[in-house]
């Protein structure tokens, strides 16, 4: 059986706890199958936190200051709003203020659908991009997870790892799709990468050819050759994200891309409303249909301009 994202996280954690003298702090670690099977049961260095959503991240920061490189797990990203103060006010400022970073690895788990509704269907990585001193990434494959973990160990800044439950059982790597004559370039973030793959297939049947560039690092977001070249050729793009669209990662990246390439780039994320528990009231990652609709419109506009 191939190694899934959940397997990868569990193995990295086990190694960190057993060989690296690390810590993993979180609430209800033993619940829901050891957090969807991402935590090694009974490993040393597991810290069951009380329901201390605001002070809990402070404990992790203190552990980092004395040399532990702790992992902090938040089972739902909605808890980030409580956790955020010590992370952005203290940890993210530490390197600039005191010349020494605070290396905490924050596993924040996004989820949606299945009746999770207003409280538990949320994805909030965007707010952390705002803060100097934070690294923000959203790995969705086993290899990517291994890479961001290695990056964490090499540098001391705090890292917000925006995980998504939709990735946990996946073992697939997700290479970019690039055509010489694509009509549009899609940039996909978090679970939107899975729906974007479906959208590309859907649009192919309508003879709309899409590039698909996968984005793992939201901050720093590098406008390198891999990212820019497909957009320069396709002359239009869409950034798709599982988080809210307004003032979110999709708008931020779309701005950078648009400015750098001088071509229109749309942002697409969650609608500007609360998610409901009933299936017809959900508000999650843009569906393949919603992505396809935006792409059709962009391609239509592009054609009409020529």
């Amino acid at each position: 059986m191939e190694k899934t994202v959940a397997d990868t996280i569990r193995e990295i954690t086990r190694e960190h706890l057993t060989k690296n003298n690390g810590l993993l702090l979180g609430q209800c670690i033993t619940a829901v199958g050891w957090i969807q099977n991402t935590v090694p049961p009974n490993a040393p260095g597991l810290v069951e936190l009380p329901m201390s959503d605001v002070s809990g991240p402070g404990f992790a920061i203190g552990a980092a200051i004395v040399g532990k490189r702790p992992m902090l797990v938040l089972r739902f990203q909605s808890f980030l709003w409580l956790a955020v103060s010590p992370i952005v006010n203290y940890a993210a400022k530490a390197r600039d203020l005191w010349g020494k970073g605070v290396p905490i690895f924050i596993r924040a788990i996004a989820s949606e659908g299945k009746g999770t509704g207003p409280v538990h269907s949320n994805c909030f990585h965007s707010i952390f991009m705002h803060m100097p001193g934070m690294r923000v990434c959203a790995p969705m494959t086993p290899h990517e997870y291994q890479e961001i973990w290695t990056a964490f160990l090499k540098q001391d800044d705090p890292m917000l790892v925006s995980e998504h439950r939709r990735s946990y059982l996946s073992s697939a790597e997700m290479p970019d799709i690039v055509h010489d004559d694509a009509d549009v370039t899609l940039y996909a973030i978090s679970a939107a990468r899975f729906t974007a793959v479906e959208a590309v297939e859907l649009l192919k049947k309508e003879n709309i050819r899409c590039n698909l560039v996968h984005i793992v690092w939201l901050k720093p977001f590098e406008l390198n050759e891999r990212v820019m070249q497909p957009l320069k050729k396709s002359r239009c793009g869409v950034v798709i994200d599982s988080a809210f669209e307004i003032a979110g990662a999709s708008q931020s990246l779309a701005y950078d891309l648009m400015f750098a390439a001088g071509v229109p780039v749309r942002a697409l994320g969650q609608f500007d409303r609360c998610s409901g528990v009933a299936p017809h009231l959900e508000n999650g990652t843009p569906t393949p249909q919603r992505i396809a609709e935006v792409v059709r419109e962009m391609v239509r506009n592009k054609t009409s301009q020529h």
Partner: protein, 309 residues
């Protein structure tokens, strides 16, 4: 010691929690050393006050003056510990032996400052004495201090904060975690009865030492007499976690160079008086003069360095 034999002054008084003969039975060296540390902090703050008045300091300063006896006493007990303070950290920094020149340079915004000019008065750090910087949000360092105590059981931690910080919700989470894991941390509340200028009675009905006790942490509520603080810190340090609520008086404004009015008491003057009564007046005066001259000369040199640039 039976409390019943003592008068029971109000909590806001210089004699609150007093124990008889503590100073008199303490060694002369110990008494003089605590006073020397108080002098270091007081004369430093007077220089900072003056420099601020004259416009030589451009950033906000949070002076410890009036409260320095607490850090002077605690530093004799908890040396070698990780030190966490909040914005009013001048006294802990100096009493534990933080670098004087780097401190002044920090207030002057120089790259040679202890935070390279980034943090100023509320953010001072000195890795050599294991003093960890604060970012300015009151009480936010308390969970961080507790996390440090959890992760490094081979060290002790001392954490200073004020009576406002203990009202922060995350403060309770931190106390609870320290109690649950019996962490080697001494909590020290420098209780000046003021959040900026709002007195405690307008903010809450409860006492923080009662909360600490409810968590199972040994806690005591006393005034800032250095011999008394030292005595209780020594007792508590044998079985941490412990909680000291120390009633004290801020001599200057919450922030900046100014005074709201005369303090309820001035511990510095009371200690001078006590040392004289104990026959240590001449030694105390010599320490005072020597420390004052030292602090003033370093300030003068750093100010000249700055103006030369």
């Amino acid at each position: 010691m039976s409390q019943a034999t003592l008068q029971s002054p109000s909590a806001r008084s210089a004699d609150f929690g007093a124990l008889p003969q503590l100073a008199e039975t303490s060694s002369k060296e110990n008494s003089i050393e605590m006073f020397r540390r108080m002098c270091l902090s007081r004369f430093f703050d007077e220089q900072a006050y003056q420099a601020s008045k004259e416009g030589l300091l451009k950033s906000l300063i949070y002076l410890s003056a009036g409260q320095e006896s607490i850090a002077a006493a605690i530093s004799t007990v908890m040396s070698g510990s990780y030190i966490f303070t909040q914005h009013r950290g001048h006294a802990p920094y100096l009493c534990f032996g933080g670098d004087l020149e780097k401190f002044i340079d920090e207030l002057l915004g120089l790259p040679t400052g202890c935070c390279k000019g980034m943090g100023g008065s509320p953010c001072i750090q000195d890795p050599k004495i294991r003093m960890i910087g604060h970012e300015g949000l009151i009480g936010e360092h308390v969970p961080i201090a507790v996390g440090a105590a959890y992760a490094d059981r081979s060290s002790r931690v001392v954490c200073f904060f004020g009576d406002g910080a203990v009202e922060e919700d995350y403060f309770f989470g931190a106390l609870g975690f320290a109690a649950t894991h019996k962490l080697p941390i001494l909590f020290v509340c420098e209780d000046n009865d003021l959040s900026v200028l709002t007195p405690t009675r307008d903010r809450r009905t409860w006492q923080i030492h009662d909360i600490a006790r409810a968590f199972g942490i040994s806690a005591i509520d006393i005034a800032d007499d250095p011999w008394l603080v030292q005595h209780h810190a020594q007792e508590m340090s044998k079985k941490l976690p412990g909680f000291l609520n120390v009633r004290t008086c801020r001599y200057y404004w919450h922030v900046g160079a100014g005074q709201d009015g005369p303090p309820e008491w001035d511990r510095f003057a009371l200690v001078q008086e006590k040392l004289r009564a104990m026959g240590l007046g001449a030694r105390a005066a010599a320490v005072e003069k020597e420390t004052k001259e030292h602090v003033e000369s370093v300030w003068k040199r750093r100010l000249q360095t700055q103006s030369a640039k």
